[in-house]
């Protein structure tokens, strides 16, 4: 029989709550359900509840997959190689909210690049937070890479600039710039971030977000993208039983690719993003 709007109403209401329970921001969940409803109206499905449920789930999977793929893809190694051929360092600026995993993610990416044979230098542009320098310094020591730093209170843009100059002079392949956590609602800090980006002109601006974040992920992604621009995303703490809805929220709102997922606190706990993996978690 045919799926009517009336028949779909209760199913869509239930689905909305299920998507929200997976940490998809409410307005995004509403958009997904509306889109799905349009796709489903008029479809011929056998009458049983189970069959309808199965059909809706399949359609949802398609919608979510195309949503995650709409962010595009970035081949990080290819981009690094291109700059390397031109004898220029590839500069990545890491940004995002407080405590969501920037510094740890930088260490993980440095580890990954070192394993692939690239040389790396770290820049500690978090000149504000207590212990920020010592934290990144410890990672640099463990990885055997150089870290550029200034005193606490120094201009973060100056540290980043020094690191890029250092990399150019020594022929280092990749510069990873760590910045202080900040709220997208703090205009001064967003302007500070903007200044770092203007001075250094990074090849990639990477937003590091926490998979446990709820509705604020929407605000974070949109505002950071609006103020500074986001080229790619890393989503951390996926191992904390996060259903992964934040991935949907962020990609849907700013249409940028997720590069990696953080799956733990060790250097090895970084996996290349695979949309099907997130969708399987969401739909289980």
């Amino acid at each position: 029989s045919e799926l009517t709007e009336k028949k779909l109403e209760p199913i869509m209401n239930e689905l909305l709550l299920e998507l929200v329970a997976c940490d998809i921001a409410f307005p995004i969940a509403e958009e997904i359900v509306d889109h799905l409803k349009k796709e489903l109206i008029g479809a011929k499905v056998e009458r049983s509840k189970a069959a309808i449920r199965k059909f809706v789930k399949e359609k949802l999977r398609e919608v979510l997959l195309s949503l995650l793929e709409s962010g595009g893809e970035i081949d990080l190694i290819k981009m690094i190689e291109e700059k390397r051929r031109r004898r220029e360092p590839f500069v990545i600026l890491f940004l995002g909210p407080n405590g969501h995993g920037k510094t740890t993610t930088i260490a993980k990416i440095a580890y990954l690049l070192l394993k692939k044979g690239y040389s790396v230098v770290l820049a500690c542009s978090d000149t504000f937070r207590a212990g920020a320098r010592e934290q990144l310094e410890e990672h640099a020591k463990r990885l055997g890479v150089k870290m550029i730093r200034h005193e606490y209170g120094a201009d973060p843009a100056a540290v980043a600039y020094d690191a890029v100059m250092y990399a150019r002079a020594r022929g280092i392949d990749v510069v990873l710039i760590d910045t202080a956590g900040r709220m997208q609602t703090n205009v001064n800090l967003m302007e500070e971030l903007n200044k770092i980006a203007r001075v250094v002109e990074p090849d990639l601006k990477v937003f590091v977000g926490d998979a446990l974040t709820g509705n604020d992920a929407l605000e974070q992604a949109m505002k950071f993208n609006e103020y500074v621009g986001i080229d790619a995303i890393v989503l951390t703490k996926v191992d904390a039983d996060a259903k992964g809805g934040a991935a949907i929220t962020i990609v849907k709102s700013i249409r940028k690719p997720i590069l990696f997922l953080g799956t733990g606190q060790r250097y090895e706990d970084l996996v290349p993003f695979n949309p099907r993996w997130i969708i399987d978690r969401l739909l289980e």
């Binding site: 940490d23 446990l212 039983d241």
Partner: protein, 295 residues
């Protein structure tokens, strides 16, 4: 956005002749939307809406009030009731008893910063306060708390070579040292962990059973979403949670996850963090939290 949701509710109510079933349903839907956007747990939102719906349908509008006043009041009361009442928490800690507060929470939630804030808060009220760094995992954890402790001029215990020592031993040594030295409040910072890191959860249980803290305080990030309920529940099963500190409320997040954590554990929200600086801490105020939640 939440302010608009409530304004719409108010408009619908003032246009309706009585609080009939259809109007109540619309109101409940609008409130559900507001609470879900504030990150309150889905199941909790459904339970709350059932209670609000039940009360709104049988309530009488007293003379001099509009039905909108009555329903708004019901919503407000149900939320405040969840938080344990309208009165702000009492923070009177007995002196000279080495009152120990152990901070726990998910990675990056704000424990170390909040430990320093609590120390500042109590120092300001004339207490002798000391800090213990029992985080032996995070690179720079010792330096981070040490720098904050120096900033507020409070002593900190935590061996520099902590990566080779057990957090249980460090916590035990620190507590007995500071109790002997007559400190009023001893605050213990621990490493971040989540419910699926079983050995870390066990370690947290071990630390608590060894030092027997007077209070275990869960630090929760205001931006946390639907996982707040199950994470808080798991923490509570590993160590009895006495209180909650909501960090990062200076952003745009409403902190609905904290509401879920209270519902899951019965712990009392005592403090909120309103910035990165050590003095950006406030006593929790249930009614302003609820009005911010609803916009």
């Amino acid at each position: 956005r939440l302010g608009k949701a409530l304004a719409d509710v108010v408009k619908k109510l003032s246009r309706a002749a009585i609080i009939d079933r259809r109007v109540v349903e619309e109101v409940v839907r609008d409130i559900q939307r507001a609470l879900l956007m504030a990150d309150v747990n889905v199941r909790l939102v459904l339970e709350l809406s059932n209670r609000i719906r039940e009360r709104a349908l049988k309530v009488e509008v007293p003379p001099g009030f509009t039905k909108k006043d009555v329903v708004i009041r019901i919503i407000y009361e149900e939320l405040v009731r969840l938080l344990g009442g309208e009165k702000p928490p009492r923070i009177d800690i007995p002196r000279r008893r080495g009152y120990t507060i152990m901070l726990v929470g998910i990675q990056g939630s704000g424990k170390t910063t909040s430990a320093a804030k609590l120390a500042w808060f109590f120092k300001n009220r004339g207490y002798k306060v000391a800090l213990i760094c029992a985080d032996t995992y995070r690179p720079g954890a010792h330096d981070q708390l040490k720098q904050l402790a120096e900033l507020i001029e409070a002593p900190m215990y935590g061996p520099k070579d902590s990566n080779s020592r057990s957090p249980v031993d460090i916590a035990l040594e620190g507590v007995s040292l500071f109790k002997k030295q007559g400190y009023d409040v001893i605050i213990i910072d621990t490493a971040g962990r989540h419910k699926d890191e079983h050995s870390l959860m066990k370690e947290m249980t071990d630390i608590a059973s060894k030092i027997r803290p007077d209070e275990v305080m869960l630090v929760i990030d205001a931006t946390i979403g639907q996982q707040a309920y199950s994470q808080a529940k798991a923490f509570n099963e590993a160590v009895k949670l006495g209180s909650i500190f909501i960090s990062k409320l200076d952003g745009s997040a409403k902190g609905g996850g904290a509401l879920s954590a209270v519902a899951a554990t019965g712990a009392v929200i005592k403090f909120i963090g309103t910035g990165e600086k050590v003095d950006e801490i406030e006593l929790f105020d249930p009614s302003s939290f609820v009005s911010r939640l609803l916009g």
